[in-house]
């Protein structure tokens, strides 16, 4: 299984880099690469979905709250056969629906439009509450950023989800330690994301977001939570996989030029 994860995550990273280069535009590479290993395990092992029947009623829901890392999301959806290469190739082409943030498209497995940070947990918790009210078993997964946790609306949603005991809601915080302008405040003071989510009554799990064993355990733990919603605080490396992009915030949003791409090819060869 670990070999499969390794293979899938390498494939996702190659898809991201190649597509970022091919589109010729700046893309949010750092955050797309940091979440890859979690996306790989989630889509390989936990999320219930059927690309050939994308709207099937018992599917689980995935919401990319940190919408700007859409390239990591589209690479995942493409890898798991939600759409053809021709469709994937429209990424950041003028007039395309595949832009720098997700646009809701249930046929392609995109459950919500995002781009304005801090709104994904509210929407997801509404769906999680709806599933409970309808007495359905579906689960709702949200991928968000640590920088995104700055948004106050996140904590409005965190409070209510806890109060409503939405144990079918699992939030993954891709804690890559950076936001647009530099490092996030968390860990630099007594402000710890783990403490914050725990204080809001969430089942909180801290993991290395690049360790497949830990990711597996975290999801298993989350799905066994009896009453609490779960927050998985996944420590990751922004730009993971390409040495010169790792923890280098110049790659938060940037363009891969031809010479940079040649370096990427060397690194991807070694992955």
């Amino acid at each position: 299984m670990m070999d499969d994860f390794n293979k899938t995550s390498k494939d996702l990273r190659r898809l991201i880099i190649n597509k970022a280069y091919e589109c010729g535009q700046s893309t949010h590479l750092g955050g797309a690469l940091s979440m890859v290993d979690i996306m790989c395990v989630l889509y390989s092992k936990f999320l219930k979905f059927k690309p050939d029947e994308p709207k099937f009623e018992d599917r689980d829901i995935f919401i990319l709250s940190k919408g700007h890392t859409v390239l990591g999301y589209l690479a995942t959806l493409y890898h798991f056969k939600y759409f053809s290469k021709e469709v994937f190739d429209t990424f950041q082409v003028n007039g395309s629906k595949f832009i720098a943030h997700p646009i809701k498209n249930l046929d392609y497995g995109i459950e919500s439009s995002n781009g304005s940070l801090g709104q994904g947990v509210s929407y997801a918790s509404g769906m999680a509450l709806g599933f409970k009210k309808r007495e359905k078993e579906n689960r709702v997964f949200v991928m968000m950023g640590d920088g995104e946790c700055n948004e106050g609306s996140v904590w409005e949603a965190a409070q209510l989800s806890s109060e409503m005991q939405l144990n079918n809601l699992i939030v993954i915080v891709d804690k890559n330690d950076y936001r647009n302008d530099g490092s996030t405040a968390y860990d630099k003071s007594d402000l710890k994301l783990e403490n914050m989510w725990s204080a809001f009554g969430w089942n909180t799990i801290s993991i290395n977001g690049h360790n497949f064993d830990e990711i597996l355990d975290a999801f298993n733990n989350a799905l066994n939570s009896e009453t609490k919603p779960t927050a998985i605080i996944a420590s990751t490396i922004k730009g993971k996989g390409i040495s010169f992009m790792e923890s280098n915030n110049d790659w938060h949003h940037n363009r891969i030029t031809e010479s940079v791409y040649e370096q990427c090819l060397v690194e991807m060869e070694k992955m």
Partner: protein
């Protein structure tokens, strides 16, 4: 529901906010897919007994309007028919971007009920007034905006919204002892303006509970021998452009009254139609709230102060007509 004079009178005494709670509870009682939401203002909007009877069908998000819109959007995905209410400035401005993303961009068909808009929050003051909400909400594409003229029209609006699968912002103005516009049942269609007093050369255009005050003013003037029509534009967006264009083109003089600042409300929509269609030779007088923070006091005091009660409206019309 049997609409008659007695009900109109009773609801008028209660005022739109309490009547919203009453009507909505009755409608939701009959329809299991309706969920009511509030950001900790259920009790202030007449929903307390519904909440006690159906705790599973009422979601109080706490004092968190942004989250209320997001959660409401998620619930619509499970085919719940969600009516979410809070005071107008919090619905339209505190949560404006959530309204834009969820109701505008994603078109999740939430019914957002803005309670206590205009000046109706009285002594609670400008933090609670809905002075600019129409202007803000009008900028959000895909949103329908409805402002009922009285409590009967509020009932007709909510009844129509049960089967309306698009996002809506409902603006409630007025307080207790709200003027009665309708005493019998009538045909209400979202988007379709209604002549309360038949069209004439001189016509008054209004929306929300200002229509009721304008009705009293126009009736008085017409008794004196004037001939003035009164049009209720309950649906501010999308405005019935062809209908209004026709009214503007066939009128000599138009008065616009609304309980909203002069920026971006019904007045602006009417002016847009005049400009876009190059309507010439029409005399237009508009009277709105000033673009400013306003005095505070009892509702009746405030609408009198700002000339939006029957006396103020009558004065504006009379002085303007007699100018020439």
């Amino acid at each position: 529901m049997q609409i008659n004079k007695k009900i109109a009178k009773m609801w008028s005494r209660m005022g739109p906010r309490a009547v919203y709670g009453k009507i909505m509870s009755d409608i939701a009682h009959k329809n299991e897919d309706i969920l009511l939401m509030s950001a900790d203002l259920g009790r202030s909007s007449g929903l307390a007994s519904f909440y006690q009877t159906y705790p599973d069908r009422f979601v109080n998000t706490g004092i968190a309007e942004q989250n209320m819109i997001g959660v409401a959007a998620g619930l619509t995905r499970l085919n719940y028919n969600v009516f979410a209410s809070t005071f107008a400035p919090f619905a339209s401005m505190r949560a404006a971007e959530q309204v834009r993303m969820n109701m505008g961009y994603m078109e999740e068909p939430i019914k957002l009920i803005a309670l206590g808009s205009g000046l109706s929050m009285g002594f609670l003051g400008n933090s609670h007034f809905g002075l600019e909400d129409v202007a803000v909400m009008k900028t959000i594409h895909n949103l329908t905006i409805i402002s009922p003229a009285d409590c009967i029209e509020l009932y007709k609006t909510l009844d129509a919204l049960v089967n309306y699968n698009s996002p809506v912002y409902v603006r409630l103005t007025g307080a207790v002892n709200c003027p009665v516009v309708y005493e019998d049942d009538y045909s209400f269609e979202i988007g379709q303006p209604i002549w309360i007093i038949p069209q004439s050369d001189i016509n008054v255009i209004s929306t929300g509970t200002t229509v009721g005050h304008a009705k009293k003013a126009v009736e008085k003037l017409n008794e004196e021998g004037y001939s003035i029509g009164l049009l209720n534009i309950h649906t501010i967006k999308p405005i019935a452009e062809e209908f209004v264009k026709d009214v503007l083109s066939t009128s000599k003089k138009i008065f616009i009254f609304e309980e909203h600042t002069r920026v971006g409300g019904l007045r602006s929509s009417i002016y847009d139609i005049i400009v876009d269609n190059a309507i010439q030779g029409l005399d237009v007088v508009s009277h709105t709230l000033p673009d400013s923070y306003l005095e505070t006091g009892e509702y009746d005091y405030l609408i009198n102060l700002y000339g939006l009660d029957a006396l103020g409206i009558e004065k504006v019309i009379r002085e303007s007509i007699n100018e020439k």
